[in-house]
């Protein structure tokens, strides 16, 4: 967590210094308040000796007014510290979130997968919140507690050595109690978390498989499974709760015993003449402050580790540098619409084998190239290299005659219209999703894109193009999502289209009409299609057949049927002989 402090600006440090200054001032005042209470008691003690001095009520009022002023001072300082601490922590959180979000946006797919989306989300939100709270608590408690402890100790050591030792004993007892709780209960906290996750898992399992569970009449089995986890969780929770229940009674006992001990020992000391009554009363107050400051420090040990863990998680993200580097930028190309792979191989990080092996091909402007092969043959990986979601491990990829690593990534992206397998839509409206492709698109362009992508269903939605889309596009069907993602790419009017299995959720009829319309409209654009259905790619200019990362055939549909066994096998499994 402390590494994150690099995001503190110079004035943040000034504010922090100010906080320390104010806290020292405030603690000073608090101790003064206790001393004034002592003054009042000594004043009362004087009443007896009316011979030497007369005690009047105005003397009490004098002290009283001073006390009120001190109290006002304390109040103002705490409010000020609070103001500063809130400012520092909330600004710090904002800065962290901005930086994390920016960083994640710069990641390539490799880094995304390394962390997983879910974990990155938690790191951007919950972890930052945790750090924010820790910083706030640190600013208020971590400074106050030691300062107060030091002050209070300095006040008591001078009055009586014996009583100081008594207080030290109480502090030790307190630390022992906290340590006990810390070592016995805290490790169980993570266990509770894990067991809660198990509960979550079993329940989720039952929910997602509810049809299967009912079809196999296995409700009882599932409930039994749940019950086992449930009992386990309850047992751990009970243990932790019963251990933690020791905390307050234990602390009360220590504090109470301490005051009794001070009075008891104090009685003997006063009797021996080495202490006076008013000092004793003040001493009790001071020693309580000593114990309390240690209590706060102990509690910090519970609060800070959480913040440290979160801080580390955030820092991991911030220190990760995307492996995919931005290029220097290129001059305008003379060639357009051309993609070439030259002996490209690719291996995923930590993998033992290449996912793609020695891939070479070339496509020219306006052509369609299709990739087909079984799952795991490397089709999607291949197109991910074109968009630089990953960088090729060996060989080079040229677009318009230039190595793609030389392009600025944003320039490269401008050339490409990408349609992913899972047509992800953003929350907003149909229109706002389409404008994602080109902010300045006219209504006519939108209309046209919807028409080409066979998205007539939009007309039937409430509000038409202004119909609400839920996050992820979950309120439209899978096929509708795919069509809208295609429309989004069309609006961009790119040099290249990449369709990564983006027709799979369409029925055959829609698939066919869509492709026909598309090829008419995008005559000049180069199209790269990944597909599972032979029907989708039959009329491509080039079909590349992949098997275990290698090219086992390139050619047209007709050619491949005669030359490529793998292709023939795929085709036969999907089409009847007479249809080929």
């Amino acid at each position: 967590m402390f590494k994150l402090l690099r995001f503190f600006k110079w004035y943040t440090w000034v504010l922090c210094a100010l906080v320390v200054g104010i806290i020292v001032f405030q603690v000073n005042l608090e101790m003064e308040l206790i001393a004034k209470m002592g003054d009042i008691i000594s004043l009362i003690s004087l009443i007896r000796n009316t011979a030497t001095a007369t005690v009047t009520s105005s003397m009490f009022w004098d002290i009283g007014i001073k006390m009120i002023l001190i109290a006002l001072g304390i109040c103002a300082s705490v409010v000020l510290v609070n103001l500063l601490a809130s400012t520092i922590s909330s600004n710090f959180a904002q800065t962290l979130r901005t930086n994390v979000f920016k960083k994640v946006n710069s990641f390539s797919m490799e880094e995304m997968n390394k962390f997983s989306v879910a974990s990155l989300i938690t790191r951007t939100t919950n972890d930052v919140k945790q750090v924010e709270q820790t910083v706030f608590v640190m600013l208020r408690m971590a400074i106050t507690a030691p300062v107060m402890g030091a002050y209070a100790i300095s006040k008591i050591v001078n009055s009586s050595v014996t009583l100081t030792w008594t207080t030290a004993g109480a502090v030790l007892a307190l630390l022992a109690l906290v340590m006990l709780l810390f070592f016995v209960a805290v490790p169980k906290f993570s266990q509770i978390q894990k067991k809660t996750d198990r509960i979550n898992n079993v329940t989720r399992e039952n929910l997602t498989g509810i049809r299967v569970v009912r079809a196999y009449d296995a409700e009882k089995e599932q409930e039994q499974k749940f019950e086992n986890v449930n009992k386990d969780l309850t047992k751990t929770q009970l243990f932790v709760n019963r251990t933690m229940a020791l905390m307050w009674p234990g602390m009360d006992l220590i504090m109470n015993a301490l005051s009794v001990a001070i009075y008891f020992i104090g009685a003997f000391l006063i009797d021996g003449g080495s202490l006076v009554y008013s000092d004793l009363v003040v001493f009790v107050s001071y020693s309580m402050h000593v114990v309390m400051s240690f209590m706060f420090i102990a509690m910090l040990f519970v609060v800070i580790p959480r913040g440290v863990v979160s801080g580390r998680r955030i820092n991991e993200v911030l220190e990760t540098v995307s492996k995919v580097k931005d290029g220097k930028g290129t001059q305008d190309n003379t060639v357009v619409g051309e993609i070439e792979f030259r002996n490209v191989s690719f291996r995923y990080p930590d993998a033992e084998m290449n996912t793609l092996e020695n891939i070479s091909f070339k496509v020219n402007k306006g052509q369609t190239i299709a990739f087909i092969g079984s799952t795991g043959s490397g089709k999607s990986t291949l197109v991910n290299l074109i968009t630089r979601f990953y960088d090729a491990s060996f060989g080079e990829i040229l677009i318009d005659g230039e190595n793609i690593k030389n392009y600025k990534i944003s320039d490269l992206n401008n050339k490409i219209g990408y349609v992913p397998q899972q047509g992800y839509l953003f929350s907003g409206t149909v229109k706002s999703n389409l404008l994602y492709g080109n902010e300045n698109a006219t209504d006519e362009q939108i209309e046209k894109a919807l028409e080409i992508s066979q998205s007539d269903f939009v007309k039937n939605l409430e509000g038409g193009v202004n119909a609400e889309i839920a996050q992820g596009g979950t309120n439209v069907s899978g096929g509708q999502r795919q069509r809208l993602s295609i429309a989004r790419a069309i609006i961009k009017n790119p040099e290249f289209y990449i369709f990564d299995d983006s027709f799979s959720a369409l029925d055959y009829k829609t698939d066919k009409t869509l492709r026909k319309e598309l090829s008419q409209y995008t005559k000049d654009a180069t199209k790269i299609i990944v597909a599972q259905r032979v029907g989708t790619i039959m009329d491509a200019d080039q079909i590349v057949v992949l098997s275990e990362g290698k090219i086992v055939g390139i050619g047209t549909h007709k050619e491949l049927l005669n030359t490529c066994d793998v292709y023939k096998e795929i085709a036969l499994s999907q089409l009847d002989k007479e249809e080929l």
Partner: protein, 590 residues
Amino acid sequence: MARNNKNNFQKPKNGKKSLLLLIKSLKPYRWAVVVALLFAIIGTVIALILPNLLKDVGKEIFVSTRGLPINLQKVTSLCIWLLIMCTVSSVFSYFQGFIMSGVTAKITQRYRTLISEKINKLPLKYFDNSSYGDILSRVTNDVSTIGQTLNESISNVITCVTMFVGSLVMMFVNSWQLTLITLCALPISMGLVLILVKFSQKYFVKQQKSLGELNGIVEENYSAHNIVKTFNAEQKAQNDFEKVNKELKTSAFMSQFISGTMYPTMNFINNLAYTIVCVVGGIMAISDPLFAVTVVAFVEYMRIFNQQISQISQISSTLQSGAAATERVIEFLSEEEQPIETGDKVTLENVNGLVEFKNVSFGYTKDKQIIKNFSAKILPGQKVAIVGPTGAGKTTLVNLLMRFYEIDSGEITIDGVSTKDMSREYVRSLFGMVLQDTWIFDGTIRENVSFGTKGLTNEQIEHACSFAHIDHFIRSLPGGYDMVLDETANISQGQRQLLTIARAMVNNAPMLILDEATSSVDTRTEQQIQKAMDTLTKGRTSFVIAHRLSTIKNADQILVMKDGNIVEQGTHKELLAKGGVYADLYNSQF
């Protein structure tokens, strides 16, 4: 997703009623609770006497200021007595906590069990309109909130009230004049607390809202990372993000600052009262010097008294979130369940597999009927293909056959007996089912295959797996049949489907419902699945959600679905000749 549900100011819709529900859940353990509360009261009362006893010690010592000797023997005996008292007080409050933890554990465990059982009792319809995340959050977050509330608040309320009343009494006992002065400060600090709580709550709510919005933006952009990148939308995303980020910062600052101001303000008022008490006490001591000792004790009681006021606002917010959680749990538990089936239920002796739909009508909602007056007769051993574009509602038929949903009118009969006359469980036991969204649970392969079928031998399981063409693959896995499958297990979609085929195979039900593999499975695996399915369907009446032409062509009957309706039915040839939806669909394939 990772939304933070742990906010402390969730308000119940109906405060009093939910609070009552929360307290009612304690009913089965009322005696334990009564004992715990009794302990809490005893512990508190003793704790309250302590300052007064300490005052007696103080009085003994105070004589020293008049130059008199201290009665050390009396001091010693008083101190021993005090030590015993404070130990007893702590022991009592610990036992209170011990008992309440036990009660809480039982109640939370019970609630979780009830929710888990409830899930299996609800009609499937319920799950159409509610998200899994919501139900999961009830099992975990809400129940744990209830636990926290019961564990802390119930006894806290008692302790707090006892302390409040007790310290007030003790203050009066010590000095009624000083007490009156203190009470003047009470409405001021109460008022201030209320104002600040109200003020800060506004910002807490705002903060939670911004946090939710921020979460949404983050989730969306991270999930669609590759789209954001290829459309060069990083800057746009960052701008959207910054807007909410700033809002979040402001509300976080405000809520933090305002709630943080509460403490110093109250502290000031307490200090003010403290000062006045000290001064007035001092002045009173002019005529009665021993009053100084009373002032010391009084100040202690005043501290306790003031503590309770800030406690009250804290307890009320915990109780409120506890009540809200109880409300959500109870709401779920009182959802309408599937009707309980009574009366004698028919079981068939020898199932032939003659299935008949007689004028069946059905709609997921009352106002929209999607299957109207549908009739069909499927002879034993026949294969029915259900075809239609994605989203056409092909699973509706499965839902009706399995009685996941009840039909509105008409009847479905099996071997001439209406399925309504059989128990739901029995109807389901007549069908084996293989769905495309294959369901694999955390457990070994063996457990997964034998799911729902009791008393299987290892041979039977392995036999079924070799029929499903998955035996070889399983044996190549580390641990073989005992390998534990979970979300991260590296087995493909196709292999998952083969496992569920094996599951249906060992189940050996007389009829089948199958979902054919689609494009997400590679060719070779698809062929294996096909072969396995062919083996499985031999001699059994089967309903197949079909994607392959060969299956469709060979089907004895084809049901064509569109927009949830069955629009056509017949054989391949008949339907082609008809030239309707099916012909259109078929001809456009290539």
